[in-house]
Symmetry: C2
Subunit: 278 residues, 2 copies
């Protein structure tokens, strides 16, 4: 464990230590008054101010102000760091390819420089993701519906891979799309794409059900589901159970006859079970 710290160093001192730290593979922080110019997928400039700059040994670059979780400027991993002193300023440049991008940081003054030996585990153990929700359902498919039988995960279609493909108690094909949090219109569209792909695959005469599984759904998404004859089941990704206070509110009276008189409608799409607690 080593750390190197310079206080109000000259640019030459900073340059020297910077190059050594990059060589060592340290994580570097530079606090100072600087301007920032970015050119790549977009273009940006940032006027002078005191910021915290972080250079990681994997090439990541972060420029942080005193606000927000998101850096005001950055470079993802894979970029190359190079420092130089020009016109009385310290320039730190990060460049990468695919796409070609350049981030230039010009320091008027460096208040503090540190080189840190960052080691140790970086693998997070996380729980409550969409994958956890999927495992809950595969463990107990009746969470989706009594009689549901999962047949395949990541089943391919012309619209892309489906989260869970299976069939209901009657043998009707079902597409299940999982979301770990409250869903909006885009999730409803995504499910609709998969259902349409199966219709093209099987022919329109074959009934296909689409079920969205998530803790809750917005009103507009519920409308979209209903318009497309899709269904919704409320489940929490962490517990695999219906979210709190939903047990009594389920099966809110589905509307009587839908005007869609195809004859092959698989089941009532009671998508408005949620709609609550917006």
């Amino acid at each position: 464990m080593h750390t190197t710290t310079l206080h109000r160093p000259t640019h030459r001192e900073t340059l020297w230590e910077l190059e050594a730290a990059i060589e060592r593979g340290d994580l570097i922080t530079v606090f100072g008054r600087c301007t920032v110019d970015y050119d790549g997928r977009a273009t940006s400039t940032l006027g002078p101010g005191n910021r915290l700059v972080i250079l990681k040994p994997d090439g990541s670059t972060l420029v942080h102000t005193d606000e927000k979780r998101t850096p005001v400027n950055w470079q993802p991993p894979g970029c190359e760091h190079h420092a130089s002193v020009r016109d009385g300023r310290l320039r730190v440049r990060g460049t990468r390819t695919t796409p070609d991008e350049t981030l230039d940081i010009h320091f008027e003054q460096v208040h503090q420089f540190s080189a840190l030996d960052v080691t140790g585990g970086r693998d997070l153990d996380l729980y409550g993701s969409e994958e956890d929700l999927r495992e809950h359902i595969l463990d107990d498919p009746s969470l989706v519906e009594s009689g549901f039988t999962p047949l395949e995960t990541e089943r391919e279609s012309t619209a892309g891979p489906m989260d869970i493909y299976g069939e209901d108690a009657e043998g009707v094909p079902m597409v299940v799309e999982l979301k770990r949090r409250r869903v909006g219109p885009s999730a409803a569209s995504q499910l609709q794409r998969y259902v349409e792909a199966l219709h093209r695959e099987f022919g329109d005469s074959v009934a296909v059900r689409g079920v969205l599984v998530a803790p809750s759904v917005t009103d507009r998404a519920a409308d979209l589901l209903k318009e497309n004859g899709l269904e919704f089941v409320a489940l929490d990704p962490a517990t695999g159970e219906p979210p709190e206070a939903t047990e009594a509110s389920e099966e809110v009276e589905p509307p009587e006859a839908s005007e869609d008189a195809d004859g092959d409608e698989p089941k009532e799409a009671d998508s408005e079970t949620d709609g609550s607690d917006g």
Copy 2:
């Protein structure tokens, strides 16, 4: 401009300076060996290791390893920071509400503590966004198509606000969806939602055209557009012109003898003849 730095401080020393720095509204960095526990929208644990922790005066919290642009753990702005010493460890806790979330960082040892007075501009001047693409088109609507007339931006519909609403030379309503980068299936679905909303609004007998404007499109998205009778125009958000080497590759104009014998001509705005069930 002031900075406070401690090297290998005791937990008590760190605690003292930490509380003072939070009070002052400084940006704080703590480098040390720690574990991290998060509980909120999901749950996570991170085993011991040396990491760089950043506490911002707006409540943002970042835990960085030596890799990736994204922090391994974090808290967005608005959380409250509190530090304490327990069981020989320094605990830094960030809590927030809506949703309820807690981030706990337990330091076994602090290698370096810094409190920084981060000031100065934080407003980025950025160019090349979707908004810039929109301005290019509003300046010169023929970029989309000769005769195109924008009538409204952010026009509301039951499917949400459309980027640009207008009409073509024949007076046929057009929805234009803008993307600053290469688009995939979701953008095609989004455009389709808007077109469907206008069909419901105007009645299926009224033709409506949907046009996606982006630098390029993936194969699958192109298929989706075609299936739904939607169109694509290639434009670069920064220049407002067709992307490089696209001059010769005609966008809308298909090669003379297309094997597609559907009679599917986008210009005829044939969405209503298709009667898509979606």
